[in-house]
Symmetry: C2
Subunit: 392 residues, 2 copies
């Protein structure tokens, strides 16, 4: 029987692996970075730019929580699903809304059934559950859907973490059941005809939780795999714990993850984090850092971070990054970008976002090349040395 | 002796004329619309988009006032002039700052010598005069500079209007003198080698004032032409007077303007205004409407204006304008643009700005074609009927 996705590993270098994830809307070479398109827009950038040679983003992420609240399901259904609504024909992964509602803190109430919260858009009382999340993601018609999970704080004690993990596992089963039912009912607005060994159906990824407790992570993984998904994500990291703790959790967890499925580290991270994550066997990443920090005047470069506001760039005619070949670095100087930022020009955000996404996407392009040519370890050392050199 | 620019009329249809303005940085087909790049950025749009096939802006406008205050002359000089600073190699026209400081109202003091005002950037006391304006424009190295003028309110009485016109004429002479001196000194940072019958020097345009008084306008024109410039602008219109009054002034003025020089109607206007202006013999326009209104959710279309916020577009899968071939209309729906606007996404401003500029620029492209094929009158009637049809 054909599947919604096909994942194949093409090269390895230690634990790092490069591969190909075939989805119903196109091939994704891994490791891959997914720009975050929260409300149906990757903030500050046009889709033409995302598709351009210097970025060439193969997949973007959409937030179920945001899209459900606005424009809402009815509008997106009437407009033929998320791809058609926003005008993007490459693959989309949607998260489940679990992390967003969890992040609301005291503004939400979590029960066995699901999560109750007030909409930030209109103050209305809303209820998100595994079933509702699957219904929303089916209406969105994303290519990869995520189970509705509960996150525990980075430093959660064992008891809290276990409770959260058990809840996530029960929600994972309910997600799987409702997802399968919706697929059978034809509710997936992005459904495509089967072909090329793919079913044309939406894929569903499970999420491993368990905070920083190795045994819980291990148990969460085993029981999630037992339910059975098209890929496995690691949630609940980069949520307050120290970085070394995160790497410790990951380094023990990934060797036990099934080889033949893509592994997605949710919400991570800096360029260094991506390279570190790859070294531990991660295939997929998403993060708001390139877009959000771009809007706040921060550029990521091969020589580290650069604050465009700094007076030292006033008349500096160098690009943000001498080694970067993005459209912004080919055309504009630090002096100009600083001027735009200080003048409050929207173009500052637009150009910094473009460069940052180019840098993140290019970093993973280089990572894939390095793995394929068996030089990942060397690449990683040089990349890390350069980015920490402090000479930007 | 070769000139800074060469203007030739290629076709006529009544008073409407299509022509070619050769500048040191490229050929500009007229009638032409110039997007406004206030502070070194046409707000909300990348230069690549301005250069793209669907916009293909041949010249943009820069504001001397804004660029002088920030980033300031020293920075722009160190960065090699405005073109190099902002990364745009097509022609740039700079205004003189006269209109900007006049617009400050009670915040500025106008004397024979010039205008004193407080900087909106840092509150410092600044002084702008014909000489200073020419120095700033030489440092910017724009391809076309404007004389430093004084504007009178649209409804200024004869005495006020005459006083203002006489001052502008004295300032025009001082502008001309200082401009020529600066050219001789080599202060023009955009200077290019002579070639193709062009001197490679900066061009200078005069400005006709006189409010709504025909005799003053006529006198202003004659005395401005006597000083001698590379083109003639009409200032002090669209500053509060009624539209019919503006057309009346223009229809009596343009027949007396020298045929062999480009005529520039400053700060005008809506798409209908551009077509009307062309019918009266105008060659060049600039206006912030497409960019400013785009940021405020208003789209200009062939069927009139469209407010993207309206609930009627909630699930409307049509483009902004069915007849528009811009990248935004080819890809995105009214439903999506409305969603972006309501969600506060920057992309709403970006896309509406792109479409509006495309519509303005395409309107003038069609105007030029119509004139060349002797069908301008027909074009004008159909264009006006369509835009006033109220069926958007």
């Amino acid at each position: 029987m054909s599947k919604p996705t096909q994942f194949s590993i093409e090269s390895r270098d230690g634990m790092a692996r490069s591969g190909a994830l075939a989805t119903r809307r196109g091939m994704i070479e891994t490791p891959v970075f997914m720009p975050v398109g929260t409300a149906g827009s990757v903030k500050g950038i046009r889709f033409e730019e995302l598709e351009g040679d210097d970025l060439d983003a193969k997949i973007i992420l959409g937030n179920t929580y945001h899209l459900w609240l606005r424009p809402g399901l009815e509008t997106i259904r009437e407009c033929g699903g998320l791809h058609k609504f926003i005008g993007w024909q490459r693959p989309i992964l949607t998260d489940s809304g679990g992390f967003q509602v969890w992040s609301l803190g005291e503004l939400r109430k979590i029960t066995e059934e699901g999560t109750e919260f007030r909409s930030h858009v209109d103050g209305s009382l809303r209820f998100l559950s595994p079933e509702v999340s699957m219904e929303v993601q089916a209406a969105l018609g994303s290519d990869i859907a995520m189970i509705f999970d509960e996150c525990a704080p980075g430093e959660a004690d064992r008891e809290t973490a276990r409770r959260s993990m058990e809840l996530t596992l029960r929600w994972a089963k309910r997600s799987r059941a409702r997802f399968d039912q919706l697929q059978a009912e034809g509710a997936d607005s992005g459904k495509l005809p089967a072909g090329n060994d793919l079913s044309g159906a939406q894929a569903l990824f499970g999420i491993v939780q368990g905070a920083t407790h190795h045994d819980l992570r291990r148990e969460s993984l085993a029981r999630t795999v037992e339910i059975g998904f098209d890929g496995y994500a690691i949630g609940g990291l980069s949520v307050g714990e120290e970085k070394p703790v995160m790497w410790d959790v990951l380094s023990r967890l990934t060797p036990e993850m099934p080889e033949e499925y893509p592994r997605y580290l949710m919400g991570v991270g800096t360029p260094e984090d991506l390279v570190e994550g790859v070294s531990l066997g991660i295939d997929m990443f998403d993060c708001v850092l390139p877009t959000r920090n771009g809007r706040n005047g921060q550029a990521f470069t091969s020589l580290g971070k650069l604050n465009i506001k700094n007076a030292q760039w006033t008349s500096d005619d160098r690009p943000l990054d001498d080694t970067c070949e993005c459209a912004v670095c080919r055309r504009h100087t630090r002096a100009y970008l600083r001027h735009l930022y200080l003048a409050g020009e929207m173009l500052a955000s637009i150009l910094l976002t473009h460069h940052n996404l180019a840098f993140f996407l290019d970093t993973l392009r280089r990572v894939r090349q390095a793995i394929r040519s068996g030089k990942f370890t060397e690449f990683r050392r040089e990349f890390t040395e350069s980015i920490n050199s402090g000479v930007v």
